[in-house]
Protein backbone atom coordinates (compact mmCIF):
# COMPACT_ATOMS: atom_id res chain seq x y z
CA UNK A 1 0.00 0.00 0.00
CA UNK A 2 1.35 3.30 -0.97
CA UNK A 3 1.31 6.06 1.49
CA UNK A 4 -0.39 9.09 0.12
CA UNK A 5 -1.09 12.44 1.62
CA UNK A 6 -4.13 14.36 0.54
CA UNK A 7 -3.41 18.00 0.88
CA UNK A 8 -6.20 20.54 0.63
CA UNK A 9 -5.03 23.95 -0.29
CA UNK A 10 -7.03 26.61 1.45
CA UNK A 11 -7.12 30.30 0.85
CA UNK A 12 -7.41 32.98 3.54
CA UNK A 13 -10.96 33.48 2.25
CA UNK A 14 -11.72 29.83 3.08
CA UNK A 15 -10.38 30.33 6.59
CA UNK A 16 -12.47 33.42 7.06
CA UNK A 17 -15.62 31.65 5.87
CA UNK A 18 -14.89 28.72 8.19
CA UNK A 19 -14.39 30.98 11.19
CA UNK A 20 -17.52 32.99 10.54
CA UNK A 21 -19.55 29.86 9.84
CA UNK A 22 -18.35 28.43 13.15
CA UNK A 23 -19.62 31.54 14.93
CA UNK A 24 -22.95 31.24 13.11
CA UNK A 25 -23.25 27.55 13.99
CA UNK A 26 -22.57 28.32 17.64
CA UNK A 27 -25.36 30.88 17.63
CA UNK A 28 -27.67 28.46 15.81
CA UNK A 29 -27.14 25.94 18.62
CA UNK A 30 -27.93 28.59 21.25
CA UNK A 31 -30.99 29.47 19.19
CA UNK A 32 -32.22 25.88 19.27
CA UNK A 33 -31.78 25.74 23.06
CA UNK A 34 -34.04 28.74 23.72
CA UNK A 35 -37.55 27.50 24.52
CA UNK A 36 -40.30 29.36 22.67
CA UNK A 37 -44.06 28.80 22.71
CA UNK A 38 -44.72 28.10 19.05
CA UNK A 39 -42.69 25.84 16.77
CA UNK A 40 -41.34 27.96 13.95
CA UNK A 41 -40.72 31.05 16.04
CA UNK A 42 -37.02 31.48 16.78
CA UNK A 43 -34.82 34.50 17.34
CA UNK A 44 -32.52 33.48 14.48
CA UNK A 45 -29.41 34.75 16.23
CA UNK A 46 -27.08 33.25 13.65
CA UNK A 47 -28.46 35.70 11.14
CA UNK A 48 -26.55 38.40 13.02
CA UNK A 49 -23.41 36.76 11.67
CA UNK A 50 -24.89 36.63 8.18
CA UNK A 51 -25.66 40.36 8.34
CA UNK A 52 -22.19 41.27 9.55
CA UNK A 53 -20.56 39.12 6.89
CA UNK A 54 -22.81 40.67 4.28
CA UNK A 55 -21.84 44.18 5.31
CA UNK A 56 -18.11 43.50 5.52
CA UNK A 57 -17.28 40.79 2.98
CA UNK A 58 -20.16 40.85 0.51
CA UNK A 59 -23.00 38.61 -0.52
CA UNK A 60 -21.02 35.59 -1.75
CA UNK A 61 -19.23 35.11 1.56
CA UNK A 62 -22.53 35.64 3.39
CA UNK A 63 -24.18 32.96 1.26
CA UNK A 64 -21.34 30.54 2.04
CA UNK A 65 -21.54 31.21 5.77
CA UNK A 66 -25.31 30.87 5.75
CA UNK A 67 -25.32 27.63 3.76
CA UNK A 68 -22.60 26.09 5.93
CA UNK A 69 -24.50 27.11 9.04
CA UNK A 70 -27.72 25.48 7.80
CA UNK A 71 -25.99 22.21 6.86
CA UNK A 72 -23.61 21.93 9.81
CA UNK A 73 -26.25 23.21 12.22
CA UNK A 74 -28.63 20.54 10.91
CA UNK A 75 -25.99 17.85 11.41
CA UNK A 76 -25.19 18.97 14.96
CA UNK A 77 -28.83 19.21 15.98
CA UNK A 78 -29.59 15.81 14.46
CA UNK A 79 -32.14 17.17 12.02
CA UNK A 80 -30.11 16.95 8.81
CA UNK A 81 -32.47 16.10 5.89
CA UNK A 82 -35.46 16.14 8.25
CA UNK A 83 -38.43 18.46 7.65
CA UNK A 84 -36.90 20.95 10.09
CA UNK A 85 -33.75 21.05 8.02
CA UNK A 86 -35.62 21.77 4.82
CA UNK A 87 -37.64 24.49 6.56
CA UNK A 88 -34.41 26.07 7.66
CA UNK A 89 -32.96 25.70 4.16
CA UNK A 90 -35.94 27.23 2.37
CA UNK A 91 -35.97 30.16 4.79
CA UNK A 92 -32.25 30.72 4.37
CA UNK A 93 -32.42 30.54 0.57
CA UNK A 94 -35.24 33.04 0.27
CA UNK A 95 -33.70 35.45 2.76
CA UNK A 96 -30.36 35.26 0.89
CA UNK A 97 -32.18 36.10 -2.33
CA UNK A 98 -33.84 39.08 -0.70
CA UNK A 99 -30.55 40.18 0.86
CA UNK A 100 -28.92 40.08 -2.58
CA UNK A 101 -31.41 42.76 -3.59
CA UNK A 102 -31.44 44.58 -0.25
CA UNK A 103 -27.71 45.38 -0.27
CA UNK A 104 -28.29 47.53 -3.33
CA UNK A 105 -30.59 49.85 -1.39
CA UNK A 106 -29.02 53.27 -0.83
CA UNK A 107 -26.57 52.94 2.08
CA UNK A 108 -27.23 56.31 3.67
CA UNK A 109 -30.91 55.43 4.18
CA UNK A 110 -30.99 51.68 4.70
CA UNK A 111 -28.70 49.89 7.13
CA UNK A 112 -28.41 46.40 8.63
CA UNK A 113 -31.72 46.90 10.41
CA UNK A 114 -33.51 47.20 7.07
CA UNK A 115 -31.70 44.17 5.70
CA UNK A 116 -32.56 42.21 8.79
CA UNK A 117 -36.27 43.08 8.64
CA UNK A 118 -36.47 42.20 4.95
CA UNK A 119 -34.53 38.98 5.46
CA UNK A 120 -36.69 37.98 8.43
CA UNK A 121 -39.88 38.40 6.41
CA UNK A 122 -38.34 36.52 3.49
CA UNK A 123 -37.23 33.78 5.87
CA UNK A 124 -40.67 33.21 7.31
CA UNK A 125 -42.16 33.56 3.83
CA UNK A 126 -39.93 30.79 2.49
CA UNK A 127 -40.74 28.56 5.44
CA UNK A 128 -44.49 29.11 5.14
CA UNK A 129 -44.32 28.42 1.42
CA UNK A 130 -42.53 25.11 1.92
CA UNK A 131 -44.77 24.17 4.85
CA UNK A 132 -47.90 24.93 2.82
CA UNK A 133 -46.66 23.05 -0.27
CA UNK A 134 -45.20 20.06 1.47
CA UNK A 135 -45.63 19.60 5.22
CA UNK A 136 -49.07 20.98 6.03
CA UNK A 137 -50.99 21.28 2.74
CA UNK A 138 -53.90 23.12 4.31
CA UNK A 139 -54.84 26.79 4.42
CA UNK A 140 -55.32 26.54 8.19
CA UNK A 141 -51.58 27.18 8.34
CA UNK A 142 -52.22 30.80 7.43
CA UNK A 143 -54.00 31.36 10.74
CA UNK A 144 -50.52 31.54 12.21
CA UNK A 145 -49.25 34.13 9.71
CA UNK A 146 -49.92 37.13 12.01
CA UNK A 147 -47.92 35.53 14.81
CA UNK A 148 -45.06 34.55 12.51
CA UNK A 149 -45.01 37.97 10.87
CA UNK A 150 -44.97 39.79 14.21
CA UNK A 151 -42.16 37.57 15.48
CA UNK A 152 -40.23 38.11 12.24
CA UNK A 153 -40.55 41.87 12.61
CA UNK A 154 -39.54 41.89 16.28
CA UNK A 155 -36.57 39.54 15.92
CA UNK A 156 -35.62 41.16 12.60
CA UNK A 157 -35.30 44.54 14.28
CA UNK A 158 -33.43 43.14 17.30
CA UNK A 159 -30.96 41.12 15.22
CA UNK A 160 -30.46 44.05 12.87
CA UNK A 161 -29.70 46.37 15.78
CA UNK A 162 -27.22 43.92 17.26
CA UNK A 163 -25.52 43.53 13.88
CA UNK A 164 -25.44 47.31 13.36
CA UNK A 165 -23.93 47.83 16.80
CA UNK A 166 -21.28 45.16 16.31
CA UNK A 167 -20.45 46.59 12.89
CA UNK A 168 -20.05 50.05 14.38
CA UNK A 169 -17.68 48.73 17.03
CA UNK A 170 -15.59 46.52 14.74
CA UNK A 171 -12.38 47.93 13.26
CA UNK A 172 -12.53 48.69 9.55
CA UNK A 173 -11.59 45.91 7.15
CA UNK A 174 -8.39 46.45 5.21
CA UNK A 175 -9.39 44.44 2.17
CA UNK A 176 -12.27 46.71 1.34
CA UNK A 177 -15.88 45.80 0.94
CA UNK A 178 -17.40 45.28 -2.44
CA UNK A 179 -21.06 44.45 -2.52
CA UNK A 180 -21.64 45.33 -6.16
Amino acid sequence: MTHSVIKLTTTPEDHRIAQLAAAAIGLALIDAAIPLPLPGIKPGLSNIVTLIVLARYGWVTAAWVCALRVIAGGLLLGQFLSPGFFMSLSGALLSLLVLALAIHLPKHCFGPVSWSILAAFAHIGGQLLLARLWLIPHNGLFYLVPLFASAALAFGIINGLIAARLLANLPAVGTGVNND
Binding site: L105, P106, H108, C109, F110, G111, V113, S114, I117, L118, F121, F142, Y143, L144, V145, P146, A149, S150, A152, L153, G156, I157, G160, L161, A164, R165, A168
Partner: protein, 124 residues
Amino acid sequence: MSWLSLFKPGDWLLAGLGAFLCALSFPLAWQGGAADKAVIKQGGEIFAELDLSRNRRIEVPGPLGMTTVAVEKRRVRVVSDPGVRQYCVRQGWLRRAGEIAICAPNQVSVQVLGGKDVYDSLSY
Protein backbone atom coordinates in the same frame (compact mmCIF):
# COMPACT_ATOMS: atom_id res chain seq x y z
CA MET B 1 -23.96 54.75 21.95
CA SER B 2 -27.73 54.66 21.94
CA TRP B 3 -29.52 51.87 20.16
CA LEU B 4 -31.85 54.33 18.49
CA SER B 5 -28.95 56.05 16.75
CA LEU B 6 -28.34 52.80 14.87
CA PHE B 7 -31.64 53.27 13.02
CA LYS B 8 -31.30 54.94 9.66
CA PRO B 9 -34.27 56.78 8.11
CA GLY B 10 -35.03 53.86 5.77
CA ASP B 11 -34.91 51.48 8.72
CA TRP B 12 -37.71 53.42 10.40
CA LEU B 13 -39.64 53.32 7.15
CA LEU B 14 -39.27 49.55 6.78
CA ALA B 15 -40.02 48.90 10.45
CA GLY B 16 -43.18 50.99 10.13
CA LEU B 17 -44.16 49.22 6.93
CA GLY B 18 -43.53 45.84 8.58
CA ALA B 19 -45.64 46.80 11.59
CA PHE B 20 -48.42 47.91 9.26
CA LEU B 21 -48.31 44.61 7.37
CA CYS B 22 -48.36 42.68 10.65
CA ALA B 23 -51.36 44.65 11.87
CA LEU B 24 -53.06 44.08 8.54
CA SER B 25 -52.41 40.34 8.65
CA PHE B 26 -54.35 39.86 11.89
CA PRO B 27 -57.84 40.71 10.53
CA LEU B 28 -57.02 39.12 7.16
CA ALA B 29 -56.04 35.79 8.67
CA TRP B 30 -58.44 35.67 11.56
CA GLN B 31 -61.71 37.11 10.29
CA GLY B 32 -62.55 33.85 8.51
CA GLY B 33 -65.90 32.70 9.81
CA ALA B 34 -67.04 36.14 10.90
CA ALA B 35 -70.79 36.21 10.74
CA ASP B 36 -72.79 38.61 8.60
CA LYS B 37 -76.41 37.57 8.85
CA ALA B 38 -78.78 35.04 10.32
CA VAL B 39 -81.19 33.14 8.10
CA ILE B 40 -84.41 31.98 9.75
CA LYS B 41 -86.30 29.22 8.01
CA GLN B 42 -89.83 28.07 8.75
CA GLY B 43 -91.02 24.79 7.27
CA GLY B 44 -88.03 24.78 4.93
CA GLU B 45 -88.84 28.22 3.48
CA ILE B 46 -86.80 31.31 4.28
CA PHE B 47 -88.84 33.30 6.77
CA ALA B 48 -86.43 36.16 7.42
CA GLU B 49 -82.82 37.24 7.00
CA LEU B 50 -81.53 39.25 9.92
CA ASP B 51 -78.53 41.57 9.69
CA LEU B 52 -76.35 40.74 12.69
CA SER B 53 -75.17 44.33 13.05
CA ARG B 54 -78.63 45.42 14.22
CA ASN B 55 -80.13 44.16 17.44
CA ARG B 56 -83.69 42.95 17.06
CA ARG B 57 -86.16 40.31 18.12
CA ILE B 58 -88.48 38.39 15.81
CA GLU B 59 -91.41 36.02 16.32
CA VAL B 60 -91.67 33.04 13.99
CA PRO B 61 -95.03 31.24 13.83
CA GLY B 62 -94.95 27.44 13.54
CA PRO B 63 -97.36 24.53 13.92
CA LEU B 64 -96.87 24.51 17.72
CA GLY B 65 -96.83 28.25 18.33
CA MET B 66 -94.36 31.10 18.35
CA THR B 67 -90.56 30.70 18.29
CA THR B 68 -88.72 33.86 19.37
CA VAL B 69 -85.33 34.65 17.85
CA ALA B 70 -83.11 37.52 19.05
CA VAL B 71 -80.08 39.23 17.53
CA GLU B 72 -77.74 41.00 19.91
CA LYS B 73 -74.09 42.12 19.65
CA ARG B 74 -73.50 40.30 16.35
CA ARG B 75 -74.88 37.06 17.79
CA VAL B 76 -78.20 35.32 17.41
CA ARG B 77 -80.11 32.85 19.55
CA VAL B 78 -83.48 31.21 19.97
CA VAL B 79 -84.98 32.86 23.04
CA SER B 80 -88.03 30.65 23.40
CA ASP B 81 -89.63 27.78 21.56
CA PRO B 82 -92.75 25.73 22.18
CA GLY B 83 -90.86 22.45 21.52
CA VAL B 84 -90.62 19.90 24.33
CA ARG B 85 -86.88 19.29 24.53
CA GLN B 86 -85.71 22.88 23.99
CA TYR B 87 -82.57 21.80 22.16
CA CYS B 88 -82.43 24.92 20.02
CA VAL B 89 -82.89 27.22 23.02
CA ARG B 90 -80.21 25.47 25.03
CA GLN B 91 -77.73 25.81 22.21
CA GLY B 92 -77.36 29.46 23.22
CA TRP B 93 -75.72 32.19 21.21
CA LEU B 94 -74.60 31.47 17.66
CA ARG B 95 -71.84 33.71 16.37
CA ARG B 96 -69.76 31.87 13.81
CA ALA B 97 -70.66 31.40 10.17
CA GLY B 98 -72.20 27.98 9.65
CA GLU B 99 -73.61 27.58 13.15
CA ILE B 100 -77.22 26.46 13.20
CA ALA B 101 -79.95 25.93 15.79
CA ILE B 102 -82.85 23.73 14.74
CA CYS B 103 -86.19 23.72 16.51
CA ALA B 104 -87.50 20.61 14.78
CA PRO B 105 -90.94 20.34 16.45
CA ASN B 106 -91.87 23.86 15.43
CA GLN B 107 -90.08 23.52 12.05
CA VAL B 108 -87.89 26.57 12.65
CA SER B 109 -84.15 26.84 12.04
CA VAL B 110 -81.73 29.70 12.59
CA GLN B 111 -78.42 29.63 10.74
CA VAL B 112 -75.57 32.11 10.78
CA LEU B 113 -74.03 32.93 7.41
CA GLY B 114 -70.78 34.81 6.81
CA GLY B 115 -69.04 36.35 3.84
CA LYS B 116 -66.71 33.38 3.74
CA ASP B 117 -68.26 30.06 4.71
CA VAL B 118 -65.66 28.09 6.60
CA TYR B 119 -68.08 25.32 7.54
CA ASP B 120 -71.17 24.08 5.73
CA SER B 121 -72.94 23.64 9.02
CA LEU B 122 -72.10 23.56 12.72
CA SER B 123 -74.33 22.13 15.41
CA TYR B 124 -73.69 20.72 18.84
